[in-house]
């Protein structure tokens, strides 16, 4: 009795205490308010001594947030946000906080490894860096000397800005290969293509700080986004303080949808119909008047560049006429009334911000979905304005360009998908590369090296990926550059142990939510563990060995030189030294970048300074462009071929003639488009595609039979695609990805909550557990993309590849499953305009296992 408090007594006290606490609140005794610093310093919880703080940048996801790392007796112990950052204001998400798990992952690869058995057999021999690079450099030299540098294929995932410049812009072109593949097509491909077609820039920013209404097509910005923390913190604050309403369309109730004022369930792949119907309402109800009408001055809506606003309005009305809310209702499942109300709310909020994401653009109609969403923003005047959707502002780094006397690069024609499948593969079609290698008609690489990338796991059709990578006849030599033993590294011939991002130098260029660029660096907290090396350093050494020195010897030197060459950093941020100390820098006097397109070239300016040497006018497009900057041989040639048909002419873009006035307009970054905001795309028209956003249903969805379901994949807040599952603190929170299914749909298929189920598509099948959920629409099955790993170490999978004993921690791993990877059943299938992987269009059958 002594030991335990009797419940009865406890409750008695509770009542008494409750009455007292109210009285106790009463007297107010003046006392100094205590302020706590938000961060920027760290202390050992055991000894209380200060920890060494090192300004750096996270890279757990593509947001690349400024951060501070803490080191205690040579061991990295903690990463926090950078309080001085205008992007994150000192916040860092769960993924970033778990960074420490990466460095000290017990299954980390610490030495170069050479395959000892058959490819994929899992037998390895430790070798020295000298042996490893002798082998690799030897092969690269042989290819180059044979005049076939393109047979060296480089494939990368989300890499740092400096790695992108050093490797993609300097090392590989100097070596001579253009067979370079990225993973844009897996996530942002369709969005970026739509952006490039419409307003030139390839990234956007959502100005939550100034908006009054947020209309969200499927973006889960509170959990995962290419600029996650920077945007999530402002969005969360705005929602909490009721500064705006937010309404979210999604096939499942993400945390973003849950925090919205309304979650509006929608059928997969039909956001385009809703966006077009909203456009219809805005035009028919005259809601474009005012800001929308003013913005139409800067829009191209018809084939003619000199159309009046009245003509543009008529053209839009005519084009959108069939897309009534009543038309969209049966397609999308969203009531016509809701579409109409939201269109009115969006158009009259002034300003309003429209969001979109991979979820709505990785469909058959992805590019037009994004274009229709841009149209909606344009006709309501919500482009590049405070509170609207803006072109992204990033720091502009200058950097050493390496030797310039290099021959043109050569490339294998396997980067853009099969002939005719993709009209405008501006960002490449990387998910088709292994298929094209299998096919062989466009040639095959001799050496396939991937860096911060996991081709087996990250793409669809996992089974085929494995078959192709395993086949030595298809790819004679494979190299994985990675700190961790993942599913693809298991199929490599050579593994080069990479430094984690906490062990290297980088400059970065994340998007600023406030439209003011922030410069920041990443620097090592500790030296690379074991014999791991930063791949940037390795590239410098490979270049030396190949007799093509780049002009700098390490990644650090490259970053340091970039700091010298970038005026803002050199002059105002204290250069490399200043920036490594402060971590971040922005110009406190800078004004946020809005309405940049409106800058007009006055008559005076036109006469005195605008027409510099090389600037000519292109009659057809109304574009002033500099043929010299575009790299054309002579003015005569530039005039003869013209802006539209000259490859790379957009590099020389200067300004746009808009009905007798000249504006800076919307500068193109990849496509020879006009400086107009192109709702009407001549580039698409030329390729026989509808020039204005046009509804096309997803063919697979149109052909569904009774009982078929649409598979949806999604992301969660504590994992990043394929890179964080070895972080034990994240994986213990999210380890299982049961197939979520609406109870009605489950019952129709005879599936109980918790049943084992088989999910089958035309390319494969998986077995997983069904989980009933009321937070997804009927008719779909939702599986997140983060689980089901069969490699990547003991925390991500059940396997410790090198059998390292990590007692006493091993016995603490408690989760019973690692889930199921959905990509086994997802075909690698390109969206027809951009080549975006169509994650959202997969039709499956569901049966009890």
């Amino acid at each position: 009795m002594d030991l335990m408090i009797r419940r009865r007594e406890f409750l008695k006290i509770g009542t008494a205490a409750a009455t007292v606490s109210a009285a106790a609140l009463k007297p107010a005794i003046a006392r100094e308010a205590r302020e706590f610093k938000p961060g920027g310093a760290g202390y050992s919880p055991l000894s209380g001594t200060g920890r060494e703080a090192v300004a750096t940048a996270c890279a757990q996801c593509v947001s690349r947030c400024p951060a501070i790392g803490y080191v205690e007796e040579g061991r990295m112990v903690k990463v926090e946000g950078q309080p001085a950052s205008i992007r994150t204001a000192g916040k860092l998400c769960a993924r970033g906080q778990a960074s420490v798990n990466l460095i000290y992952d017990p299954d980390r690869i610490l030495y170069p490894l050479r395959r000892a058995g058959k490819r994929g057999e899992g037998k390895w021999q430790r070798i020295s860096w000298k042996e490893a690079l002798d082998d690799l450099a030897g092969r690269l030299k042989k290819l180059r000397d044979a005049g076939q540098p393109e047979k060296f294929m480089f494939h990368h995932g989300w890499i740092s800005a400096s790695a992108d410049r050093l490797i993609n812009e300097v090392f590989l072109p100097t070596y001579g290969t253009g067979t370079v593949v990225n993973q844009t097509c897996l996530g942002q491909g369709a969005r970026q293509a739509a952006f490039q077609l419409t307003w030139g820039a390839h990234e956007d920013n959502w100005d939550f700080a100034n908006t009054r209404f947020v209309l969200n097509f499927g973006a889960n910005v509170l959990e995962a986004h290419t600029n996650h923390v920077a945007l999530a913190r402002i969005l969360a604050t705005g929602i909490a303080e009721r500064r705006f309403r937010i309404v979210t369309f999604d096939v499942r109730m993400s945390n973003t949808a849950a925090k919205s004022n309304a979650w509006i369930p929608i059928k997969p792949g039909t956001d385009l119909a809703v966006a077009l119907a909203m456009g219809n309402v805005v035009m028919n109800e005259g809601l474009f008047r005012g800001e929308g009408e003013a913005f139409l001055e800067f829009c191209k809506v018809t084939p003619r560049n000199d159309a009046t606003v009245a003509e543009k309005v008529e053209a839009l009305k005519a084009h959108l006429a069939p897309y009534t809310p009543e038309w969209a209702e049966p397609i999308s499942g969203v009531p016509a009334r809701t579409i109409r109300d939201l269109a009115i709310e969006f158009a009259t909020a002034k300003p309003a911000c429209v969001l979109s994401s991979r979820a709505v653009s990785s469909n058959y109609n992805g590019v037009d979905t994004e274009r229709a969403i841009l149209l909606l923003a344009a006709i309501t005047g919500n482009i590049d304005n405070p509170g609207g959707r803006c072109r992204a502002v990033v720091p502009e780094w200058s950097y050493p360009k390496g030797p310039q006397d290099r021959p043109p690069t050569r490339r294998l024609e396997i980067l853009n998908g099969f002939d005719g499948a993709v009209s405008l593969p501006i960002n490449g079609v990387g998910h088709q590369v292994l298929k094209m290698i299998k096919d062989g008609r466009a040639g095959r690489p001799e050496v396939y090296l991937w860096y911060i990338y996991n081709p087996v796991y990250a793409n669809g059709e996992v089974g085929e990926n494995i078959d192709v990578l395993k086949d030595e006849a298809l790819i004679p030599f494979t190299v994985a550059v990675t700190p961790f033993y993942d599913e693809s590294a298991a199929l490599a011939d050579l593994i080069l142990p990479d430094a984690t991002y906490l062990e290297r130098y980088d400059f970065e260029d994340g998007v600023s939510p406030s439209q003011v660029p922030e410069y920041y660096l990443r620097q090592p907290l500790v030296p690379p563990l074991g014999e791991a090396r930063d791949f940037k350093d390795v590239c410098c050494e490979l270049a030396e060995r190949l007799g093509i020195p780049l002009g700098f010897k390490t990644g650090e030197e490259f970053v340091s030189k970039a700091c010298q060459m970038t005026p803002e950093v050199a002059d105002k941020a204290g250069g490399f030294r200043g920036l490594t100390k402060a971590g971040v820098w922005h110009d406190p006097g800078a004004k946020p970048a809005y309405y940049g397109y409106r800058r007009e070239i006055s008559n005076e300016e036109f006469k005195t300074s605008f027409l510099t040497e090389g600037v000519i006018f292109d009659e057809e497009m109304g574009v002033y462009w500099n043929w010299k900057k575009a790299g054309v041989a002579s003015e005569a040639e530039a005039r003869r071929v013209g802006y539209r048909r000259t490859p790379g002419a957009h590099k020389g873009y200067e300004a746009q003639l808009m009905r007798e006035r000249i504006f800076i307009g919307f500068r193109p970054d990849r496509i020879n488009k006009t400086g107009y905001f192109e709702l009407y795309s001549a580039v698409l028209a030329e390729r026989g595609l509808p020039p204005l956003p046009t509804y096309r249903p997803v063919p697979e969805h149109a052909e569904m039979r009774a009982g078929d379901l649409v598979l949806t994949t999604y992301k969660v807040n504590v994992q990043t695609l394929s890179t964080t599952q070895n972080c034990k603190w994240l994986t213990e929170i999210y380890f299982d990805n049961a197939a979520r299914i609406h109870p009605t749909t489950a019952r129709e298929h005879g599936i109980g909550d918790g049943d084992r189920v088989r999910i089958k598509s035309k390319v494969g099948e998986i077995e997983t557990t069904a989980k009933w959920s009321h937070s997804i629409v009927p008719g779909i099955v939702a599986i997140s993309t983060h689980a089901g790993r069969w490699e990547y170490g003991r925390y991500a999978s059940k396997r410790a590849p090198f059998g390292v004993d990590d007692a006493p921690f091993d016995r603490l791993k408690w989760w019973p499953t690692n889930g199921t990877h959905p990509n086994w059943v997802i075909p690698n299938s390109p969206e027809p305009v951009s080549g975006q992987q169509r994650w959202g269009d997969v039709v499956v059958t569901l049966t009890k296992a």
């Binding site: 205590r34 610093k37 906080q97």
Partner: protein, 266 residues
């Protein structure tokens, strides 16, 4: 006024740490031994590092969690794990998800959790070695790992499941409001990284502090107020639906979930 003090108003933190279990329970049960306990606590406790309490009112650290600002992102969960290198399978700080309703009328809310640093902390009263005590200088409830014998009484006594036996140290473990940071003027790790700015830390007995102003002006709640533990963690706009509600037949659909539950109640 005297009665208020005895039972544990604002001065209640001075009631503990109790010199012995017997006295503690007496204090808890009837408040009769309060004066004795106060005297003993002053004698036994470690020398305060904070300024001495003025006018009989010490600092009482507390936290307000504004659930309107919480996005359920677990940044706090992991920041805490990292700050203290908390072993896999245990948490000092975590976030519960509450999902309710039937399609399409559904909602999800988040409930960040940590030790409540109660003014009447049951864990303190049951501790046989005084390893767990409430610091007189700031009201934080802490564990002296050196004195803890790992008997788990406190883990049983805590109505909030805030405590666990650390498998590496063998001692009871839980949130300590990051006193190693706070004593240096830096906010607790979870507060520092909270993406939505949902956590406000400070002295709840200082009427000028931000936290006191929030408690005064917002409709705040505490967890399990009926237990009489007087928690010092307050919530704004929390959904208190819990696993008990989930079992009520008339409630159609409630799911309370987090990884910690999955480990301990799977």
């Amino acid at each position: 006024m005297a009665d208020e003090r005895e039972i544990g108003g604002r001065e209640s933190e001075e009631v503990c740490p109790a010199p012995g279990r017997r006295e503690a329970i007496q204090a808890l049960a009837g408040g009769l031994a309060a004066t004795v306990a106060v005297a003993a606590a002053t004698a036994l406790s470690a020398p305060p590092t904070e300024p001495a309490p003025r006018n009989g009112r010490g600092i009482q650290y507390g936290m307000v969690i504004d659930v309107r600002r919480c996005i359920g992102c677990h940044a706090c969960t992991v920041a805490c794990k990292s700050e203290f290198d908390v072993p896999v399978g245990e948490n000092r700080s975590w976030v519960e998800y509450v999902e309710k309703g039937e399609y399409p009328y559904v909602g999800r809310s988040f409930l960040p959790r940590l030790c409540n640093h109660c003014s009447i902390p049951p864990c303190v009263y049951v501790c046989p070695t005084n390893a767990t005590y409430k610091r007189p200088q700031d009201g934080a409830v802490v564990v002296d790992v050196g004195l803890c014998i790992g008997c788990k009484y406190c883990i049983q006594a805590c109505p909030y499941e805030a405590r666990f036996l650390n498998p590496i140290t063998g001692a009871a473990d839980k949130c300590d409001f990051c006193l190693h940071r706070v004593s240096k003027g830096v906010a607790p790790a979870c507060v520092s990284t909270c993406v939505g700015g949902a956590r406000i830390f400070g002295d709840v007995s200082d009427p000028e502090s931000e936290i006191s102003k929030l408690i005064a002006s917002e409709r705040v709640t505490v967890l399990r107020g009926e237990m009489g533990t007087l928690p010092n963690v307050y919530y704004i706009a929390a959904d208190h639906t819990d696993s008990i509600d989930a079992r009520r037949p008339e409630v159609r659909q409630v799911e309370v979930d987090n990884h910690r539950r999955r480990k301990h109640w799977r």
